[in-house]
Amino acid sequence: MRTAVCSVEHHDGGRLPEKHEPHFISRLRVAHPLIINAHAFAVLFIVSGVFSKCPAFSTEELRKLSWSGIPRQVRPITWKLLSGYLPANAERRESTLQRKRQEYFGFIEQYYDSRNDEHHQDTYRQIHIDIPRMSPESLVLQPGVTEIFERILFIWAIRHPASGYVQGINDLVTPFFVVYVFEYIEEEVENFDVSSLREEALRNIEADSFWCMSKLLDGIQDNYTFAQPGIQRKVKALEELVSRIDETVHRHMQQFEVEYLQFAFRWMNNLLMRELPLRCTIRLWDTYQAEPEGFSHFHLYVCAAFLVHWRKEVLEEKDFQGLMILLQNLPTMHWGNEEVSVLLAEAYRLKFAFADAPNHYKR
């Protein structure tokens, strides 16, 4: 770790010629994203003060480090950097945050009163009935939080009229909101009382969640536009991929006339959030944000790995009902980092084997 700190200082002092050492972290032998130790990562970040000392560190290095999981302490800022919400240049961060937060609350002033207007009331009504029925782990059932989610979703929806608000998008706010809440408290507590936060903190969390969710959605817009072509395409790709990597499972599904759309539609529409506990989704998103096109493309490989993970259980089911019920209620309640890491490693392997040769997964 000392070396790391030194190398940062050297870099800052400008003693290393840029073209020979463009990425200071490569000195840490960051060879493969799977090998990095999360602890080392945390220490590196906190001790070396990467964010304050190195004004333009390489986003590429940050991606590599984040791939195998981001320590809780640095997750909020890392997510904001990876999503492109915060600029890599540290000097511009504070002003960017201020500007973006102001801009968001400007939208609220400009648009939020229109939620009861004739052409927006359907959107608002739908959001309004969906929020209270979200999972309690989203903290959304707490007083004040409901309104935050409503504002975020309504503003996003009316600024994106081609998709508007589609059920499932509400789930995508949750990981950002929960991660950014924990930026303002020391210890992670179950069911933390959000209303104990200062009002300013809550406003910041709201604006940051809005922008990061918007960045995420920018990459998967065709999931939610008319006829949801992105989802249709990905479910087809999933089927082709599974037929290549596990013919037994694929044939088994065919034999009992289970169609991939029947269970995988939700996997795509909600990015597996309905299938996994929230802690796993947050861990998954570390990697999705570190991976180029994580949410739009890598997710496909994760879904394939996820399905094949249950091959034993799938093959034990001998009729349509049994298969459908299993696939809609996969037992992931106890899942944690370890299970997600295994899943991600397998997805990475699949991507490596198939991504550059799309014809490989065409039969």
Binding site: Q228, R266, N269
Partner: protein, 213 residues
């Protein structure tokens, strides 16, 4: 041990968002109210075997998402449905007004013989009622629908809704109005009936014997 059944019916639950479709299905299958029911994404599946008029019928039920954007997915389930529960919320005029659209969809996309029962759900919230029993009953009659007010919370009329729909289909099969062997009828013979079919057309007594084995 595998339960044998005489028929398999494919059912659909449709209607606007937030009317309680998933809770009706949950109440029917699990016999309890689903407290934390998140909105349905796309389509979800449930199944239960019931006894109707001396026959064992397996119901395969597709519970659809109410939101407009999912129609492209949910519509693909209409074809091949034998019966449908069309659900509105008695405390929401808006969900009642949308019934015509839902009905048009069902009648165009599903088999013309689809049996539909209209369910005015959330009967327990009578104090907030926006749709009267009488106007809904008139709507049902004018559109040749069966009609019940239901409560997924208390369970009132939930089982009845599914059974009534199943019984009507069964009657239509027996009267010859519905042909299970027609493509996309949403009806299949179960193993109990198949054995029987291989023999020359049997009497009612024979059917009973098959059921009891």
């Amino acid at each position: 041990p595998k339960i044998t059944y005489n028929f398999l019916f494919k059912f659909l639950v449709i209607g606007s968002a937030g009317t309680g479709k998933s809770c009706l299905l949950h109440q029917f299958i699990e016999n309890k109210f689903k407290q934390d029911s998140n909105h349905t994404i796309g389509v979800e599946f449930g199944s239960r075997v019931v006894n109707v008029g001396g026959k064992t019928v397996k119901l395969q039920i597709w519970d659809t998402a109410g939101q407009e954007r999912f129609r492209s997915v949910t519509r693909s389930y209409y074809r091949g449905a034998a019966g449908a529960l069309l659900v509105y919320d008695i405390t929401s005029r808006e969900t009642y007004n949308a019934l015509t659209n839902w009905l048009t969809d069902a009648r165009t996309l599903a088999s013309p013989n689809i049996v539909i029962i209209l369910c005015g759900n959330k009967k327990d919230l009578d104090a907030d009622r926006e749709v009267t029993f009488l106007e809904a009953s008139r709507f049902a009659q004018e559109n040749e629908l069966m009609f019940l007010e239901t409560s997924a919370l208390t369970g009132e009329n939930v089982e009845e809704a599914f059974l009534k729909c199943a019984r009507t289909i069964l009657n239509k099969i027996e009267s010859g109005e519905l042909d299970p062997e027609r493509m996309g009828s949403g009806i299949q013979y179960g193993d109990a009936s198949l054995r029987q079919l291989r023999q020359p057309r049997g009497s009612a007594a024979q059917t009973k014997q098959q059921c009891n084995c």
